[in-house]
Symmetry: C2
Subunit: 422 residues, 2 copies
């Protein structure tokens, strides 16, 4: 008799911070996490002493291959001064952050701890691109998929073509996702690519002219996005701007038992739903147009929270590729199957739409430091629910929000639902 | 206000199994885990349907570097047919298994799940020894320790020399630990080195004679153990037989809510204490003769269980090196500081002694597939408490047992206490 119908003990988020996302050759995982932890401390508005932290979970995909460093949980705990508290690394590929959050929630919900730090971190940019691609490939089923020639752009390209074939979507529809997420990311000071695609294109033209070269003939961002010179093909139908970047970054949230929340913050956010599901790797699935683990995790999270998709005001979803956001927007129940790409085209998922998705800029524009991404989603949700998202603030009340974090092509998915209190 | 004084909800172990430990070039992590899972199923004496499993945690140190495969939790879940249940990898170096167990316990204790599978796995032997050593080194603080020339035998050699200087132990005292653990492992059919040191030596002599070479002049195992030809120096004072081996293997336990235990088994084992602590890497510690994280975790586990070291009948401790067992036997409170090596010499920790340690053979003889070791300790404890340990069964009643699992040189330590019910 599974008891997933409610958290056995209320859990609140009382602070959430992140490092700047980007490429920082001089910083390692620990440096990045210290930056996120400092940012977190500012957001716990009534303050706290790090000695109050009783346990620490960190999501990280592969410090092993990216930095030749394992066992990073105690190293990070030491760097932020919270030893001897239990320090545990959680790994589920790109869902590592969301799954770490879930362990932290369970640790508080169990009654074993009252104050738990959850973080995510990845240091990716020191390797050459080919080795980054190779390392990311270890999130797939290596002997059955990578040996057959697949890389992640290829997996998601296969999902995109399956979706196009079934629902009539075109490659241009996907570009609306990228345009929107860069519009949002341009308003996020922590984003790796804090610039609209329009500005990006203008920058490219200006750079060409500065070098005395002929200006590219791009009269609009659509010219730019459909030109191999502006937006190179990666794996048809996915071009460069359909793909999230390689990023260094860290993120952190502070969880406390519900009954203590008001002693840490005037604006605690309650965790209402938490669910996770697993699946076979992509090669084992009958249908590529949705992600079963995401559907299952969403349903369980809604069920635990006692709400449905229509009640959710905003969502941060796992847009490692533009097609991933389209499918995610359907898997979480915002739209019916085959309607997700239309919603993106129609602006429904824009900041000003009725179902804003990835107001942070998403993985696409904010950046995707693998293990940090799931926790960084929470940082955005907390900022938005508190009304502290600055220029990218969604108008009106945000009573409920959702995060959706995927590992690989959906062998792991973890979904959380949050409720604003004050 | 930390609530570590008791598990909020009783948790029982209703089965525990493991693969054969050793070197298996034809098997990967998944193959090994399937073997452990099959063995586990036999030990759940009232049987169960894998579909009853609601969540899965697997301890694994570095499938990334050992097998170039990340995200192994859902791959393993798929291999044993338990998708879509949540599948999560937990990593804390050599403590990964014990920490995974702790997450499983928390998942049940939280009330979120009733039936949780916990496993550990590592596939190490396909790499050349130099790369294995290098990979194990990533459990340390790489920029501060490995760059300075340390490897793990060096770390533990430093601890051994510090201990010798303080307490007057000699290298020969350490050999008693190896002799005892090989005596135990010789009675464990799953052990990598299921042979006493006497038999090992005789085998070496017979092999030399068979090749027509002169027989080594070893009149006793002490000759053998003190001869560079029999027992080469690794890092003074540690010789080969002071070090645990490189091993492939997997282990698994089934946890259920206490109230359900009797529907799974006539011999459930209750989890009475569970604690974990972190610390800086070795270079940051004031004293090398004990492991602070092990002392803290032990104290917390005893406190949660409401018992003390004198109540514990047997323990499986983390003997990655012989000196580690000596220090562990003091850190868990079996002996006073400086008395552990005497207890080993006097047979107190032997199977027939008053405080048996590592009846399984320990990491030294059973083998040390890093992520699997912490969970394999539980396999031994369950067998012993159920009276199913065959030739190596400890005499008399075993009401309480303890496991002690260390990551790196003690940046992580996790301790559990178990209680026999029927």
């Amino acid at each position: 008799m599974p008891k997933q119908d409610a958290l056995p003990r209320p859990v609140s988020i009382v602070g959430a911070g992140m490092s700047k996302f980007g490429s920082f050759p001089e910083k390692n995982s620990r440096d990045l996490f210290v930056e996120a932890f400092k940012d977190l401390r500012i957001t716990v508005d009534k303050g706290f002493d790090p000695a109050q932290i009783e346990a620490f979970y960190v999501g990280n995909f592969s410090s092993d291959l990216f930095e030749h460093q394992g066992h990073i949980a105690p190293l990070i705990a030491d760097a932020v001064g919270i030893t001897p508290c239990p320090a545990t690394r959680v790994e589920d590929a790109c869902a590592s952050g969301g799954v770490a959050l879930r362990q932290g929630i369970m640790a508080v919900a169990s009654g074993m701890y009252d104050v738990v730090l959850v973080g995510g971190v990845e240091k990716m940019t020191n390797l050459p691109t080919s080795e980054v691609t190779d390392t990311l490939g270890t999130a797939a089923d290596v002997p059955f998929e990578i040996s057959a020639g697949f890389t992640f752009p290829g997996f998601y390209a296969a999902m995109a073509t399956a979706y196009m074939a079934r629902y009539g979507m075109t490659p241009d529809h996907l570009k609306h996702v990228a345009i929107k997420n860069h519009d949002n990311g341009a308003l996020n000071p922590n984003a790796q690519f804090g610039v609209t695609i329009q500005k990006w294109m203008e920058g490219r033209i200006a750079a060409a002219l500065k070098k005395g070269k002929p200006a590219p003939k791009w009269n609009s961002i659509w010219d730019f996005l459909n030109d191999d010179g502006g937006n190179p093909m990666v794996a048809w139908p996915l071009r460069l701007f359909d793909c999230s970047p390689v990023t260094d970054g860290a993120s952190a949230v502070l969880l406390v038992a519900g009954e203590l929340a008001n002693s840490f913050s005037d604006h605690p956010i309650n965790v209402r739903g938490s669910a996770q599901a697993s699946d076979s790797a992509l090669y084992g699935r009958a249908d590529l147009t949705s992600v079963p683990a995401a559907r299952i995790a969403s349903q369980k999270a809604y069920s635990m929270a006692g709400v449905s998709a229509k009640d959710i005001r905003i969502a941060e979803v796992h847009d490692c590729f533009t097609i991933a956001e389209v499918i995610a927007s359907e898997d979480i129940g915002f739209f019916n199957p085959g309607d997700g790409y239309k919603a993106a085209e129609d602006g429904v998922t824009a900041r000003t739409g009725s179902k804003p998705i990835n107001t942070s800029g998403g993985l696409k524009s904010k950046g995707h430091p693998v293990g940090a991404s799931g926790v960084a989603q929470v940082v955005e949700v907390v900022k938005q629910m508190r009304g502290q998202a600055g220029e990218r603030q969604v108008a009106g009340d945000i009573p409920l929000a959702l995060t959706h974090n995927v590992g690989a092509t959906g062998s792991t998915c973890v979904v959380h639902i949050y409720e604003r209190t004050n």
